[in-house]
Amino acid sequence: MTLVALGLALIVLAGLTAAALARRPAVGEMVFRILFGAGCTLGALPALAVLAGDTVPDVGLASATPFGPWVFGLDALSAVFLLAVLSVGAACAFYGLAYLAHERAHRAVGLAHLLLAVLVATLALVVVARAALPFLIAWEGMAVAAYLLVVFEHERREVRRAGGIYVVATHVGTLLLFALFAIWAGGGSDLSFAALAAHPPFSAGRGAMILVVALIAFGLKAGAVPFHFWLPEAHAAAPAHVSALMSGVVIKMGIYGLLRTIVLFGTPPPWWGWVLLALGAVSGILGVVWALAQHDLKRLLAFHSVENIGIILLGVGAGALGVTYGHPLIAVLGFAGAALHTLNHALFKSLLFLGAGSVIHATGTREIDRLGGLAPRMPWTAVTFLVGSAAIVGLPPLNGFVSEWVVYQSLLRGASAGGAVQLVGLAAVVLAFIGALALACFAKVVGVLYLGTPRHALATEPREATRAMIRPVVGLAAACVVVGLAPIAVVPAALRIGSLVAALPLQADVAAGPATAFTVGLALSLLVAWALYVAFGRGRQRRETVTWACGYPAVTPRMAYTASSFAAPLLGVFRSFSGVRTRRTPDAFSTHAIDPVLDSVLLPAWRGARAAAAWVRRVQRGGLSRYLLLVGAAVVASLLYLLVAGRNP
């Protein structure tokens, strides 16, 4: 724990230096880089040790603290989230230095670096806090730091709107967390997690209330449908490295909260597991369908976070049901898959957002239909983005495949178990559906963005990002490949987390992950086949020409297939809830998508509430005579009521 504390102190110090030396960015950023990197390394070491099987004693603050002792601890569950925070945090911070460099002249860039450092530090505090009050303080610090970073480009109207929606959503969540701990403690004054875990058995009603509040509060943070409405707004509005950190790590705090709730609560009732599983299925399918409908690169990636939260929730739900129905294998594998997918999603989603940042930086647009043919112009960005895409789709031999595999194992074992839990098997079909739709969506993104020809002439020819921006992205891509190639290195640790959350012993003989021989063998076969192919083609006749367009000679870039066209057949199937609005003119076809929850339910409700308030405000005109009239009317009304009530007691 000392190392973690030291690491976090270094991270905050790095932020302070960057802000203090804003006038001399070269020195400030150099110091920031060194301190931030050292802090993340120091913090990650104990996390890795714990994941390898070590235990770290909890530490408490020595002085008296309100609401019970303030304890901090690091178990396997905290460790995997801490690892995600620090690794992705470092990549995003380093990327941010280069990404914001050209803004130095007209924005407080040093302050942004400080806020990012604070965000990473509070994220780390959230996962190591072992008492309600420090947890809430860290949670709120994280929310505020993230808000300030989201509104970094505050002169744009849609950024302010996104920030507003985000800050409302996150504070509703925080309020619910206050309620959660209050109901849980039931008037007790000790709010340390140890005390909360030692609760006497709850009555069915109170237990249900706790679980529902936890589900909504943490679901809001995680962005599960229907609580996802703030997510695409905020993630699209923030600078790329902030989006990466938010999508990769911040929303995972909701998952951490749910898993921690299960640890502290004990065996949940069956309905809760089914609700989690249903939320996972709905988030997964709707998330990817809405992503298919998007043509704004960052909004599209944000909706894929909703989808992946859905996959994680499928694992958590299966795990909860395994605990409830007494199937240790389903429980451990479910939670293990959820934890591992959390880490993997942090890696490839931040990779994709940073890659998107490089594209936006180079081209000045987020509309994928305006882009195309970037692969030869930005080779490194293209290759890393391709790796991230294949990983998020869950293709072997990359890391997404490994964690989806573990989730699949849990669901399939549910299918072959007896009793009610068998229905869990159907979630495997849902997962397959999500995977296939995600493949369609990323084929669209990679195909339209990087391949083919540019669809519109851009102001300047896009150029590859600077080395400082490529390096963190390559690091993340390497992590995706390593985890994907060597499941044997990560799956045991994931199982340890699963057995911790399920409070069930680990079965050593379970083949939980894909065989490492398979992943390595596949990678080797691909390499060998490529080498043979190249060798075969050497010295053969080879010509270059234009793309064959079935004899039509006058092909223009405007004829290239667009993202709208590519997604149209699938969206036609999901017409009723895709939120797509189509526009057809004689020579063009385009679609744009609204968010069904935000634009069709929440904002109209908000406007309705405001209109109602405005109507009520009409009585408040400030004239004395009117107020006297109202007072008189109120007195008469009360008298009448008393008369009526007196007659009929």
């Binding site: 293709l395 083919g452 083949a511 192919y533 010509r543 367009a549 057949p569």
Partner: protein, 303 residues
């Protein structure tokens, strides 16, 4: 890895190009034509491999990697299937997920190679391919789940091997439904009528053929061979469900498998002769229908 299993995979790879030939021959006979010889594809592959390559200037390495990845994924997937009805060359718990993952990787590579040409035709084909696959993949998993329930085994070697033979007397009705569902999947995944018409003349109505419109020479040879291999793999799934061969010796089991593959190819030819291509919007309904069959198969075993 077992030596006999590898020999089986080798033979499968060698005879796969005959399957499209059998399909074409069946169609020709049923429509009163003589048709190309059954072994035509071997001659085509030989011819294409001797040719040079023509690449569009728009394409990148992604275009050239496509056919290679497709072939490797299918070859590795073949190693997971128990061709002798007992044991695959490679097996591990949950390898059915690997099988689906390999097919998905191949599809991703093929679709991206198509999009790399920048042509609307390829874009159109790619879009249709991923649309159909989105409905085919859940159906495949429903079939797998029904097989897992029937055999209690989480690997393809078990699901399609010895335990399956033991499950037939108990769950015959359910397994027949799975077999039919897998046959529909075979038609969809291999771009056959009623999902796609490999003999169509209009690029606008194609799916698979139009994605590979720009591939030529050795690249096209790889694509054509991979298509034949994919047909063979799905044929193996269908035959494995309908004809459990655990009771036979290795050579007899293999012989039965290849006879079964021939029957499947003839069946595909018959379907192609008597049916028209469905409207594209109807294809998801066909696949959801096949999925419903597999769901019934699952429910039959739960009840």
């Amino acid at each position: 890895m077992s030596g006999a299993g590898l020999i089986g995979v080798g033979i499968l790879g060698a005879v796969a190009p005959a399957l499209p030939g059998i399909v074409a021959k069946t169609k020709s006979v049923l429509t009163g034509r003589r048709g190309p010889p059954v072994l035509q594809l071997y001659a085509d592959l030989g011819k294409l491999l001797r040719k040079g390559s023509v690449y569009s200037r728009t394409t990148t390495w992604v275009f050239r990697a496509g056919p290679v990845v497709v072939l490797v994924t299918l070859a590795v997937a073949a190693l997971l299937l128990p061709l002798d009805g007992r044991e695959a060359p490679a097996r591990f718990t949950g390898d059915l997920v690997a099988f689906a993952g390999l097919l998905a990787l191949g599809r991703f590579a093929l679709v991206l190679a198509g999009l790399d040409t920048g042509s609307s035709f390829e874009g159109l084909g790619a879009s249709r391919e991923v649309t159909i696959a989105s409905f085919a993949e859940p159906t495949l998993f429903l079939c797998f789940i029904a097989l897992v329930l029937a055999t209690g085994d989480l690997s393809l070697s078990g699901m399609l091997g010895t335990p399956l033979a033991a499950a037939w007397p108990r769950a015959g009705a359910s397994l027949s439904l799975v077999g039919i569902s897998l046959f529909v999947l075979l038609l969809a995944e291999n771009s056959r009528v009623p999902v796609d018409d490999p003999a169509t003349h209009l690029e606008l109505t194609m799916i698979h053929e139009v994605i590979v419109l720009d591939h030529g020479g050795p690249d096209l040879a790889l694509i054509l061979y991979s298509s034949a291999l994919k047909l063979a793999l799905f044929g193996v799934l269908v035959v494995a469900v309908f004809v459990p061969r655990a009771g036979f010796g290795g050579p007899a089991a293999l012989a039965l498998l290849f006879a079964g593959l021939g029957v499947v190819a003839v069946a595909v030819g018959v379907v192609e002769s008597i049916m028209a291509r469905l409207r594209l919007a109807r294809v998801p309904q066909l696949l959801v229908g096949a999925g419903t069959l597999a769901l019934f198969a699952t429910i039959l075993q739960v009840g």
